[in-house]
């Protein structure tokens, strides 16, 4: 807004760019927020209201029945539990493995380590569709179809490249003198990592935890491929499952969609306090 005000300030040549950028961003923000607003509106309307076709109107009265129905549904509880069973270990494992690899690439380079780093990071560029059928056959052969294990394993593996990339780049900013000081004081590499490097990398860890948690929690594809029974479905599949055979329960789906996005919001709010700069300030003269 300040930029916009400046654009029209007297005595200056009119610069249209701040205004153009502001308006473009405002339009984009509206477009992105519209579906969420639509879902929110649907979730507090009765099926009858929705059926009358008034999707974007403000409801005549607030209807909490959809939320009550969703929260009382034992299937929804199971979806939440299943999603949590997948998301928590896969998030922790991918960040832990990525941190270990990132530390080695940043602080203990060896012959060929740069090439290996590139190979690992290039794993990010494989689209899931390419590995979908081989993975299905692999887990089928291992008799793991319709369990949560394949989803945990795949999310862990697919998270390693981004975690390694981010952690390696962050560890590279931790001064080498800190590692050397710790080693002279009697620390081994594990202690340098856990007591010096990782505590300094909280901002990177917080970013990764938020990203990984959100991606895995919101994933639709892998649970769809590897789970079949309703007992093993995750929350994203659950939203789809809530539609009836002959009708679409927009209100119920809307309320579950919003409830399902709450954990990612909570994770974001929890970790955002660590998204701070300057953690390494004061370590070395700079």
């Amino acid at each position: 807004m300040v930029d916009v005000a400046l654009a029209f300030a007297p005595g200056r040549r009119f610069n249209p760019w701040p205004a153009v950028i502001f308006i473009s961003l405002a339009v984009l923000a509206l477009l992105f927020l519209a579906p969420t607003a639509g879902v929110l509106l649907s979730s507090i309307k009765t099926t009858r209201d929705i059926a009358l076709g008034q999707l974007w109107t403000i409801p005549s009265e607030l209807f909490w029945g959809n939320y009550a129905e969703v929260l009382a549904n034992p299937a929804v509880h199971r979806y939440f539990l299943n999603t949590f069973i997948v998301t928590a270990p896969a998030t922790v494992a991918s960040i832990a493995l990525g941190s270990l690899a990132g530390y080695v690439f940043a602080k203990l380079p060896f012959r060929g380590s740069n090439l290996l780093f590139l190979v690992i990071v290039s794993g990010m560029f494989f689209p899931p569709q390419v590995i979908l059928i081989p993975l299905f056959r692999l887990f089928n052969a291992m008799d793991l179809i319709d369990t949560l294990y394949p989803i945990i394993i795949i999310h862990t593996a697919m998270g390693i490249p981004i975690c390694t990339l981010l952690m390696r780049n962050f560890f590279a900013t931790v001064p080498n003198a800190l590692r050397e000081a710790a080693i002279l004081e009697g620390a081994n590499e594990w202690q340098v990592l856990t007591r010096v490097a990782l505590p300094l990398s909280l901002p990177a860890l917080a970013v990764l935890a938020t990203l990984q948690f959100t991606w895995i929690w919101n994933d639709f594809l892998w649970p769809l491929i590897f789970t079949q029974s309703d007992e093993k479905r995750t929350i994203m599949l659950g939203i789809v499952n809530l539609q009836g055979q002959y009708s679409v329960a927009w209100g119920v789906q809307g309320s579950l969609s919003l409830i399902a996005s709450l954990p990612t919001l909570i994770v974001f709010l929890f970790f955002q306090r660590y998204f701070i700069k300057g953690m390494t300030m004061g370590a070395v003269k700079g």
Binding site: P175, A177, L178, E180, A181, A182, I183, L184, E185, G186, A187, Q191, R195, V196, P199, L200, G278, M279, T280, M281, G282, A283, V284, K285, G286
Partner: protein, 358 residues
């Protein structure tokens, strides 16, 4: 405490040799300063003693143990880094106690050792602060406290004062020296600042291009530099070095600068006719001459420092510096006559760079 012995140590990075057979013996409790220009290998040598760099050839012994293949933590040395290397997420107390916590020492003992080190260094009121809440000098003191707490056999200092401002550097210099006099722990101190070396060291090792140029007590190095490099490196302002050659024909030995200016020599020295020399005289060893004695010089710049006056002039075809304790107000372009003190004259062979007079 322990002695440190470095014998014929070599070090290369890939194909570049940086240390060429250095041998130094450091006595138990000694404060030794390694000094030299950037890239002379002094920090590499220190890092090899610490175990942060491998030794390619030769031996390093701490006490009576050869430590070439010993892990850094087994060597019982503590290092103070140029950029402090304090753990930014730990308080001063946690920083200082980190090594003891790693050793799983008793909590009461850690507290006691940290408190005692903090008291020595005047850090008691800062123990609960984070490094970023400290000034440069305080951070440097914490870095030293961290070393003291461990009570190591050897202290290693890697240019610890070069990030501080001039005034603080002088203060910390005194503090480190006082600390050493109190603890008498063997200390090896690396610096590129010859003033720091002169003021702090019990013995100085002057290094250049990966080799030791001279080892000795500060004033011995100042009074009798073994070669041209040490002569030019030790002392501020630097020694005047005038290229000259021996002349014959007169009863007393004499030399002439390359432009023909006659330069006086002490009576007891023998130089061959035409022998290429470097005539070295420290700025404070030049006195104003009267009655046509001495060598003619043309004043270019006068710099009064308060305690002395530096006069830069052209003498024997070269820019030289003279330092006078008394105050002079020469004009640029003025001609004066300067007489070198013959008892403290330094003569070097121009080709080998080695000292000629005793």
């Amino acid at each position: 405490m322990a002695s440190v012995s470095i014998r014929e140590v070599h070090k290369s990075f890939d194909d570049t040799a940086v240390i060429h057979g250095v041998s130094i013996d450091i006595e138990d409790g000694e404060f030794l300063v390694l000094v030299g220009p950037s890239g002379c290998g002094k920090s590499t040598l220190l890092r090899m003693i610490a175990g942060l760099e491998d030794v390619n050839d030769g031996e390093i012994a701490i006490g009576d143990k050869v430590v070439n293949h010993m892990a850094p933590k087994a060597r019982d040395v503590a290092m103070v880094f140029q950029n402090y290397a304090l753990y930014p997420h730990m308080t001063v107390r946690q920083n200082m106690g980190f090594s003891l916590r790693l050793r799983k020492a008793d909590k009461a003992m850690i507290r006691e050792r940290v408190d005692s080190a903090a008291q020595i260094l005047g850090l008691t009121d800062l123990l609960n602060r984070l490094p970023r809440q400290l000034s440069g000098g305080e951070r440097q003191r914490v870095a030293m406290g961290r070393a003291i707490v461990r009570d190591p056999q050897v202290f290693l200092f890697d240019e610890p004062l070069s990030n501080l401002d001039a005034k603080l550097r002088v203060q910390m210099r005194t503090e480190i020296k006082a600390l050493h006099q109190r603890l008498r722990t063997t200390s090896i101190y690396v610096t590129h600042d010859q003033v720091e070396a002169m003021t702090m060291a019990e013995r100085i090792v002057v290094m250049n291009l990966g080799q030791v140029e001279q080892v000795g007590r500060p004033l011995d190095l100042y009074d009798r530099p073994a070669n041209l490099f040490v002569a030019g490196f030790i002392g501020s302002p630097a020694m005047n070095l005038i290229e000259a050659s021996g002349t014959a024909g007169s009863a007393t030995p004499a030399a002439a600068a390359d432009d023909g200016t006659a330069l006086p020599l002490p009576a007891d020295i023998r130089v061959g006719e035409g022998q290429p020399l470097v005539y070295g005289v420290r700025p404070e060893d030049l006195a104003l001459a009267t009655n046509g004695a001495g060598v003619e010089a043309t004043v270019s710049v006068v710099e009064p420092t308060g305690s002395s006056t530096l006069v830069f002039c052209q003498m024997a075809g070269q820019e030289i510096c003279a330092e006078f304790q008394e105050r002079h107000d020469f004009d640029p372009g003025e001609t004066i006559r300067l007489m070198p003190r013959l008892e403290t004259l330094h003569l070097f062979d121009r080709e080998s760079g080695q000292r000629l007079n005793a």
